[in-house]
Symmetry: C2
Subunit: 594 residues, 2 copies
């Protein structure tokens, strides 16, 4: 089993050196978020992840969840770990102090989520879903709903779910059949079956708050006839404590490829009592605010897995002795050299590392802008940040999860045959990572969100929030000789991204299927350019700190930046070529010829 140690130096480098997150403390509501406090929180989170969550990751996978007549039991140790998680106040970290939260910046919670997911992705699902329910109720719930549910979700003694998918519909929620009938007392009776409900039933909390999409009797067909409801497992009594058992029951749990310690439930609603959240028929927009937060959280799952895989692979590569270095023995006193000397092993390790560190920089930047979008006193700055978050959310979700899966597989490959054996823990990372490319909108859907919604929004305003500062930065950086090895290739890739964007705007207007055909390539091209930009900025910092206190740390950053530029960024050439080749070859084959 690979040990996990929170990469605090790397996290602090991104937060404070790169993103200047110390400035967060100047924003209204964030006075407590000083670097000292943040550092203490990150250290504590890292210890919690390493000491409480990682030790039950493999055993949780082997044991899985148990289902017995509607009740779900989590694997050994999960209940105790969750109790400590609640005791430590972790569920409320980014939540409003009005409901008992600590009101800390979301970007700090991003870092905490990364660590939790490195240590135990299945465990992370439970508070992750609660956080989604919290967001939906905080934004769209009535005062009474907030009073009843939010303090319980914030403390973590209740958990939450998002009940969207049905057997015949996942991506296409317009097909939802679950019904909500109004009752005389203003509540509703929900009837229908939901599937793939993470944390739908479990033994960690005294109550579970389901947020359910359903149709009112007078609902228009399709996506404009969906409403959002809150439907607790136990109806709160007058004192707000769990009262009568609701008719929302778990029918079975799924047997899955991975995240086996996370209960994925079939939920049967049989006239279950629920209350409308937000306006009738406006459930999708309420769900979208929740889903955008969830998409970023899934991106952090990808990042967490990637970091765990890298740590496992490095430890093995330094320890495993096999063959001599091609340039001659490096450790002649040992029977063979550690495999970290071999170029192809280094290729795998550096691919994991350069992408993981780039992904961390990109996603934390989005996390910081998310905080600015909520807390900055200047409305224009808030809008700017909100635009950037909206633009980059599908990229963070898709690219970070694709990377998490790639990194997990590279980790297995570094281990060779031992990577395929369960007890080593590396193959679990592959199985756990695989779902992140699928749920909260498949990565293909993220591409469509980017090209179909985000590019055109505000006549390209979202795009300009990224293009303008990046362009200005790269122009300036490429004029400085020491920065050219980073800035020039990035500028070239950025030009490809700009060309591809123009091509897409033109073709997509003529034929929407061209946009659909280009979506996945475009998202990946965008992501690589965004990572290159982050690596330029990290390299710049490292150059400034060369020969300083942490010389080796900064030299490593430069080495990774160089590797990224010459070994990973060139993929943009292929993406540009395949994207601009258009969709004709995709659409030519008649459906029956497949």
């Amino acid at each position: 089993m690979p040990a996990y140690k929170a990469p605090l130096d790397d996290i602090r480098f991104v937060l404070f050196d790169l993103l200047k997150a110390d400035s967060l403390a100047d924003l209204p509501g964030f006075a407590d978020a000083t670097p000292d406090v943040v550092t203490a929180i990150l250290e504590a989170a890292g210890e919690f992840a390493a000491n409480e969550l990682q030790p039950i990751n493999h055993s949780g996978d082997e044991e899985g969840c148990h289902f017995d007549d509607g009740a779900v039991t989590t694997p050994k140790g999960f209940k105790e770990a969750y109790a400590k998680f609640v005791e430590g106040g972790w569920p409320g970290l980014p939540c409003d102090p009005e409901y008992g939260g600590q009101g800390l910046p979301k970007v700090i919670n991003f870092a905490v989520e990364e660590m939790i997911c490195s240590a135990n992705l299945s465990f992370g699902m439970y508070p992750g879903l609660s956080n989604g329910a919290y967001n939906a109720l905080e934004l769209h719930g009535t005062a009474e709903q907030k009073r009843l549910y939010l303090p319980k979700l914030v403390s973590g003694i209740w958990s939450g779910t998002m009940c969207l998918t049905e057997p015949h519909c996942g991506t296409d929620l317009g097909l939802i059949k679950t019904k909500a009938e109004p009752a005389a007392d203003g509540s509703y009776k929900i009837t229908g079956t939901k599937i793939f409900i993470s944390a739908g039933e479990h033994d960690l909390t005294e109550n579970i708050v389901h947020l359910v999409l359903a149709r009112l009797p007078d609902a228009p067909a399709g996506i404009r006839g969906i409403s959002l409801f809150v439907c607790p497992k136990f109806l709160p009594d007058t004192a707000g404590n769990p009262g009568q058992r609701n008719a929302a029951k778990c029918g079975s749990i799924e047997h899955k490829m991975g995240i086996k310690a996370s209960a994925t439930c079939v939920m049967n609603f049989d006239g279950a009592t629920a209350w409308l959240v937000g306006k009738p028929h406006k459930g999708m927009s309420a769900m979208f605010t929740m889903m955008n937060a969830a998409r970023l959280a899934v991106g952090m799952q990808g990042l967490g897995i990637a970091e765990a895989a890298y740590q496992g692979a490095v430890a093995y590569a330094k320890d495993r002795l096999q063959m001599r270095a091609l340039s001659g023995a490096k450790f002649p006193d040992k029977p063979a050299d550690p495999i970290v000397v071999h170029p192809d092993v280094r290729r795998m390790l550096l691919t994991m590392r350069a992408l993981t560190e780039g992904c961390r920089a990109l996603s934390y930047w989005v996390g910081l802008e998310l905080d600015i979008s909520k807390h900055h006193p200047d409305e224009a700055r808030r809008q700017e940040a909100d635009d950037l978050v909206a633009l980059l959310t599908p990229i963070v979700k898709a690219f970070l999860t694709d990377h998490g899966f790639l990194a997990a597989n590279l980790g297995v490959q570094v281990f060779g045959g031992h990577g395929f054996i369960r007890e080593w823990g590396m193959e679990q990372l592959v199985r756990d990572a695989r779902i992140t490319q699928i749920y909260e909108g498949t990565n293909g859907i993220q591409g469509l969100d980017l090209v179909g919604r985000k590019l055109s929004q505000g006549m390209g305003r979202l795009l300009r929030r990224f293009f303008h500062p990046v362009s200005a930065y790269l122009e300036a950086a490429s004029a400085r000789p020491e920065m050219q090895e980073f800035a020039l290739p990035t500028l070239k890739a950025f030009a490809k991204l700009q060309q591809a964007t123009a091509w897409l705007a033109q073709q997509g207007l003529k034929n929407p299927e061209e946009a659909g055909a280009a979506a996945t390539d475009y998202l990946r091209l965008f992501a690589l350019v965004a990572l290159a930009y982050m690596w330029c900025r990290m390299a710049e910092l490292a150059l400034q700190n060369q020969g300083g206190d942490h010389a080796a740390f900064h030299e490593s950053k430069l080495a990774c930046a160089r590797f990224f530029m010459v070994k990973l960024l060139p993929e943009t050439n292929t993406l540009f070529a395949t994207l601009t080749a258009g969709g004709q070859t995709l659409m030519a084959l008649p459906a029956e010829a497949f």
Copy 2:
């Protein structure tokens, strides 16, 4: 569970239209291999795979193998299926009639292996290993060893293993510690522990023939001191039947990510009786002949998985209704369109298909040349074929298994959330495929074999066996207007491969680590060019048959060829760029900085 139907039309197209395999019947020893006979065999194999092997694939994965005090039980149905496999004479298909085999061409067995692995990769492991043992004994065994073991392996009533890996060594077999002490009667006593021994113990056959690498007392250190031994589970008695139980015992079985119905054993040899195969200290070269055949067989495993994943994904994509086509509803009478209408779903399906069909063409070509290398009356032609097989073996192993894993993952992605659920059977393909990139030499090792051994062998003679005919073909094809859309991009990619080869030859001489750093990129570049060449030739055939009897079949080939050229071949640009960027960024980071 995805149904499986053997792709007989595609297989026949490659064998007879593309490769003219009917000419095999003209070679000495292959008189029986007429197209009618071959077609009947392929049909029967397809039915066996679909009706006997596929139905126990998912249940075999769920149940896994059982270990109890040295005995291994395969999952329900495996014993019965194996008995039918033996009854049908399948184990002896490519084996010498002198030992009871059918003496059919190996390329036919390639097609049979593909089908078996599409239906049930775990099952395929058992005869696959036997075939490896057969090859080693046929080439290197004494007359007495052949007489004792080959008929039993050919009939399938005994099975075989390859015992190479030890806990501290896999890739680096020079580190092997297992010892062989000479006994007075000319036999040897083997002592040591081998791990990852596929089919090391099971309940399918009455005896198991282990081929074991070990060191003689006077062995030189390292790879030049390894000898090969045959060590049966039961010592054959005078009549050749299983007699005394040998001290070669299974200590445990591994719990793995996939191929769970294939028993992966720890084998303890405790003074086990064995006999030398081949010359003392020459075990590695004997093992290599066996390993090269095994590497091609593993390539076929990748192809088999890819085909199964494609079939599963297509069935789902035609059935699952979700969203409307971007260009407007295609099935307005249904609640939504089948997802096969969406460009991004087609991108995934066509990627699977164009690579799978290209891989089939490439690997069957290698299979045909393998037969020519053994059976052609002209020695020069035999050498030419042998060279080509040697050159392309690492490419078939690595590229086809990388593709198998990619295709399995695309299959899961097409299924969305259902792909992650075990009962649908798609995630098993991912888990089963994952090992093929690792065993029989990791895919990184295949790259090193290609650049380190195959390129330089015979002063580049092997390479010329591929470069010259391909160059001549592409020059001619690119002069014909109807072929230009295929031949011109292939010619361009081929030029990159030639340039990369020259670069590698030059750099590798100066610094062997440059060759190591380039190996994986080079192999993939080579593979894509080889596939493009196969697609040119398939497109040429399809053009000739346009509007003919199987018009739709040939139109599909053209559509896939076009897709390959514009959507998949451009990866060669990136590979060329990253390869020629050199290894400096890989080697710069000191080991302790990882």
